[in-house]
């Protein structure tokens, strides 16, 4: 049957030949029987019947009605789309951009927020969430806990298996040497049972035992598949061999399977050796737990709420009475994406608006076509075409467009996703791999189909309401442009402009935020400064003398190079996250004021000079502040302001890192990114800093801070940055050839990396805003252009009666401007509501910033004016005589 359906064209031609042969035979016989040739032919025809009718009957027998009409509609749709290339191209671009951008953002949202984590039974993977309510406020903490809490949970929890990972990772990687090869790798310190919690067993060997995972346990390591392949060339005998990690030898006990990664990727795992005094003294551990099968997650929450709160209660009975603590579990995926959730959902919202505008635009474009085609449709209906047939035809046309646009959109989406990956290098750590997948494809096609129905239905219904007589009669005397359909187009233009305002205001606020953050006074002179970081989380650098020897000798070598103005080492560069450490007052000590925290950094002489931090009072650090000399510190102005009301505190004493030290100087403030201390939550804060001489820091202090942070060399030089970088490398290698430099960057690169997330959001939302503006302009242009086309005759008459071109243009343009103005007002209202939701993304500018709102309004109005003016210009070229004769 289907074969005959698709071949029926050829079959029909064959049938015609066959019937002709029949008639010829008949005619032959009749001629033989004595008929004249012409009479014979007539008689044969009479007896045969009408061949055309018979062929049609057979043709119908061979067709499938639905496919038949669908095929015809699709062919017709292609013909119509080819006839209006301008419309088709604009519509396709609109669709491709709308669907493509949405697909790309959805891919990211899907990969990060929706897609189950790549582990067995991912819904059983949880972490801890604690809520502490005090009169000072409510604090929610996810994942983090201290050693004592972990041990309590580990030893008492019956509903789940738990494991922890130690803190780390704000500094550079660690140094690993194996098989005579050195590599800078990322290390994760995890507890016994860590891999079991994730449900993935080592592919070779085993994971850590409880015996290994305790203070003083043997040094063992599990390698990632990638590192094993790279260092051991996939040698199965690697298990049992040793590697040198941070200058210490570790025995390899296992290799993880290919592709295994948690939210924080690592090349090598070692036992965390949980403790309660050093790292475990603070909330430095991240908890991972797997709820046992058949145990409801709520029971795990309830158990957590029994174990944890008593441990966290303040000892002071009065404070305890005012504090309430609850604990529970939260899905790991949710906890890992807490920070990303808001910006991603906001982006998704922005993209949704663009898609909405794209749909509105298409609906407008299609309605305009319907208006232009109303005569054709009226003619078809007058000739007997059913209302349903017309609606079906228009729907097929939209569907053809939507599918073509959807396919183009997938291409655009792929490109946007690649761009996103580039742009987001410093912003999101995509721990899990990400690519366009089936689910994203389905969603994108769903959008295409939904869009098709959305914008296909409105014009279809309008078209089917065409008053056949009215339209045909009107076309003769088309003096006044009419049509109820124009109303829906007007509403759409208003909606488009309003949505555009919302996006552009958001973009404007983000741009203003970025400009604000960029223009903030850094507090130092970042030009001509090169920085270099390397990891000192190394067994060979546990001794204070060894660390200081490295600093002093490398700096001495660097200072010998030409062009060097100043050079120093610090634990924390400006525009990065600084170390938080407790300290105590000496003068005016108040036992109630228990927890004083500040950003503490060790520095060498030369650091303050290299950054040109202004000295406000007292003196900077110098070479005489050595081990054995009187312990000193330098603080910044913000420290003095916050803790001493800005008093001159030079000569006073504070206790830092277990030693009482004299404040010998006050320097200006250098900005940093937020470490959770102070600031207003803005991405760039003015920290309160204590600068401690590196030469007066203890080995224990170095060991502790170097697990989380890496020291940075800071060099001010008039030499080209590349030469400075080379000088640093040679100087470090000259002191310790086994110590690789992890990263060399100019200070301005460090500054710009600090604002990577803001730049990312700003670029993306601005890009979307520009797309929205373009789409709105296309919409307005289309509306005015079709109005001009429809009113050609009327305008011609006006010109003939003596109206000036200016009057006629004004008459055509005015509706466009009016609609845009209405849209701007509505959009501004909506933007006010939206900008309130954006509060956490904007700094240094009010959510109701009048400059942004006025600027966006002005921009949209001028674009609308130009978009209206271009088609209106055509009026001037009208020849009244011609237009009057045209119809």
């Amino acid at each position: 049957m289907m074969r005959r359906f698709f071949r029926r064209g050829r079959l029909d031609a064959e049938r015609a030949r066959e019937m002709q042969a029949h008639l010829d035979h008949y005619t032959d016989d009749l001629t033989a029987a004595g008929y004249a040739r012409d009479d014979a032919r007539r008689e044969a025809r009479r007896r045969f019947g009408n061949p055309t009718v018979i062929r049609e009957e057979i043709y119908r027998m061979n067709s499938v009605p639905v496919l038949e009409t669908l095929g015809r509609d699709v062919r017709y749709a292609f013909r119509m789309l080819r006839k209006t290339p301008g419309f088709t191209i604009v519509a396709l671009i609109t669709l491709a951009v709308g669907i493509g951008v949405n697909t790309a953002i959805f891919t990211v949202v899907n990969a990060l927020l929706l897609k189950p984590l790549p582990f067995p039974d991912p819904e059983r993977l949880v972490t801890i969430e604690t809520t502490v309510r005090t009169p000072r406020g409510t604090f929610v903490r996810q994942s983090g806990l201290d050693g004592r809490t972990f041990m309590e949970i580990r030893d008492n929890a019956k509903t789940m298996d738990v494991a922890i990972q130690g803190a780390g990772g704000w500094g550079a990687g660690v140094n690993l040497v194996a098989q005579n090869q050195a590599a800078n790798v990322s290390q994760a310190r995890v507890s016994a049972g860590f891999f079991k919690v994730f449900g993935i067993a080592p592919f070779m060997g085993r994971e850590f035992t409880g015996e290994e995972d305790r203070v003083g346990g043997p040094a063992v390591a599990v390698l990632s598949y990638g590192l094993w392949a790279r260092l051991f060339d996939r040698d199965p005998a690697a298990v049992g061999k040793t590697v040198m990690l941070r200058g210490e030898s570790y025995e390899v006990v296992g290799v993880m399977p290919q592709g295994f990664t948690t939210g924080s990727p690592a090349d090598v795992w070692t036992p965390v050796r949980p403790n309660t005094d050093r790292e475990g003294g603070g909330t430095n551990y991240t908890l991972y737990a797997r709820v046992h099968p058949d145990v409801p997650v709520e029971r795990a929450s309830a158990e957590m709420n029994l174990i944890v709160p008593p441990l966290w209660m303040p000892k002071d009975p009065k404070a305890a009475a005012e504090t309430s603590i609850t604990a529970g579990v939260v899905a790991l995926q949710r906890a890992e994406t807490t920070e990303l959730r808001a910006p991603l959902l906001m982006l998704w919202g922005a993209v949704g608006i663009v898609l909405l505008i794209a749909c509105v635009n298409l609906a407008g474009l299609l309605i305009a076509r319907t208006g232009l085609r109303s005569r054709e449709i009226a003619t078809r209906m007058a000739l007997g075409s059913g209302r349903r047939a017309v609606i079906r035809q228009l729907l097929v046309e939209s569907a053809v467009l939507a599918i073509a646009g959807g396919v183009a959109g997938i291409g655009v989406g792929w490109m946007v996703l690649e761009g996103l990956k580039q742009l987001s290098t410093h912003v999101f750590d995509f721990g899990y791999p990400m690519s366009l997948d089936g689910r994203v494809l389905a969603a994108s096609l769903g959008i295409a189909v939904a869009t098709s129905v959305l914008f296909g239905l409105a014009p279809a219904i309008y078209a089917s309401r065409v008053n056949v007589q009215g339209t045909l009669a009107e076309s003769g005397t088309r003096s006044v442009a009419g049509g109820a359909g124009r109303w829906s187009r007007r509403i759409m233009v208003v909606a488009e402009v309003a949505l555009g305002v919302v996006l552009l205001v958001s973009a404007g606020l983000l741009v203003r935020t970025f400009v604000h953050l960029r223009s903030l006074n850094p507090g130092f002179d970042p030009s001509h400064v090169v920085t270099a970081t390397l990891s000192l989380q190394d067994k060979r650098y546990e001794d204070a003398a060894k660390v200081n020897q490295l600093f002093e000798q490398s700096l001495a070598r660097i200072r010998q190079q030409p062009g060097i103005e100043a050079a120093g080492v610090t634990l924390g560069l400006p525009y990065t996250r600084l170390l938080n450490l407790g300290w105590k007052r000496v003068e005016g000590y108040d036992p109630v004021e228990k927890y004083l925290n500040a950003n503490v950094s060790y520095v060498t002489p030369g650091y303050i000079e290299a950054l040109r931090l202004p000295l406000r009072r007292g003196r900077a650090l110098n070479d005489s502040d050595r081990d054995g000399a009187a312990p000193v510190v330098v603080v910044n102005e913000e420290f003095a302001k916050r803790f001493y009301k800005g008093a001159d505190i030079v000569g006073m004493h504070i206790s830092v890192s277990g030693t009482v030290r004299e404040i010998v100087g006050i320097v200006g403030n250098a900005r940093a990114t937020s470490s959770g201390l102070g600031g207003d939550g803005s991405p760039l804060i003015v920290p309160f800093v204590v600068y401690m001489p590196a030469a007066q820091s203890s080995g224990a202090f170095f060991r502790q801070v170097h697990t989380w942070f890496s020291p940075a060399w800071v060099i001010r030089s008039s030499a080209p940055p590349a030469a400075v970088a080379e000088a640093i490398r040679q100087a470090v290698a000259g002191v310790d050839p086994l110590l690789p430099v992890a990263k060399i960057e100019s200070m301005s690169t460090v500054q710009s990396a600090a604002l990577a997330r803001q730049r990312f959001m700003m670029s993306l939302v601005s890009g979307l805003g520009v797309v929205a503006l373009m789409l709105a302009a296309i919409g307005i242009h289309g509306l005015i252009a079709s109005a001009v086309t429809e009113r050609t005759r009327e305008l011609g008459i006006r010109l003939a009666l003596g109206a000036t071109g200016r009057q006629v243009i004004g008459n055509v343009v005015l509706p466009g401007i009016t609609l845009a103005a209405i849209g701007v007002v509505i959009g501004a209202g909506a933007a006010l509501a939206v900008s309130r939701l954006m509060r956490s993304f904007i700094w240094g500018v009010e959510a109701t910033d009048p400059i942004t709102f006025a600027g966006v309004a002005l921009l949209l109005l001028s674009v609308s004016f130009v978009a209206s003016l271009i088609p209106a210009w055509r009026v001037l070229r009208l020849d009244p005589a011609l237009t009057l004769r045209a119809e």
């Binding site: 049957m1 005959r4 064959e14 049938r15 030949r17 066959e18 019937m19 042969a21 029949h22 010829d24 035979h25 008949y26 032959d28 016989d29 007896r47 045969f48 019947g49 009408n50 061949p51 009718v53 018979i54 009957e57 057979i58 027998m61 061979n62």
Partner: protein, 117 residues
């Protein structure tokens, strides 16, 4: 098959089903083109069945679609190109079945139409 349908909806279908059967019966003698088939039906019924010759073709299309006949082009006795039809084995079985049903029908009608005694 045809009979069942005929029994359910007498009238046009009866004639149509009958025409199919007549065509199949004609082709039992050997392959033939459309004109020959029409002539043979006329002649064998002593010119009683005067089919509109054109209506033969939808029937042939249907029979071929059902796989009861197949066709090929060949040169006719008049030295013209013509499309010849022939019975397939499936068509032969179908004809067998239809003939039996037809005989039963005729016998049954004959019994009913006996002169009343």
């Amino acid at each position: 098959m045809t009979l069942k349908r005929t029994a359910a909806r007498p009238g046009a279908d009866l004639l149509q089903g009958t025409l199919d059967m007549l065509v199949l019966q004609t082709l039992r003698l050997g392959a033939a083109h459309g004109y020959t088939i029409a002539r043979l039906i006329e002649q064998r019924s002593d010119a009683f069945l005067q089919v509109e010759q054109g209506s033969l073709y939808p029937a042939l299309n249907r029979l071929e679609d059902r796989g009861w006949v197949d066709s090929y082009w060949a040169t006719s006795e008049n030295n013209r190109r013509a499309r010849y039809y022939r019975l397939t084995p499936k068509g032969r079985r179908q004809l067998q079945a239809e003939t039996e049903q037809w005989d039963q029908l005729v016998r049954a009608i004959g019994l009913v139409m006996r002169p009343v005694e």
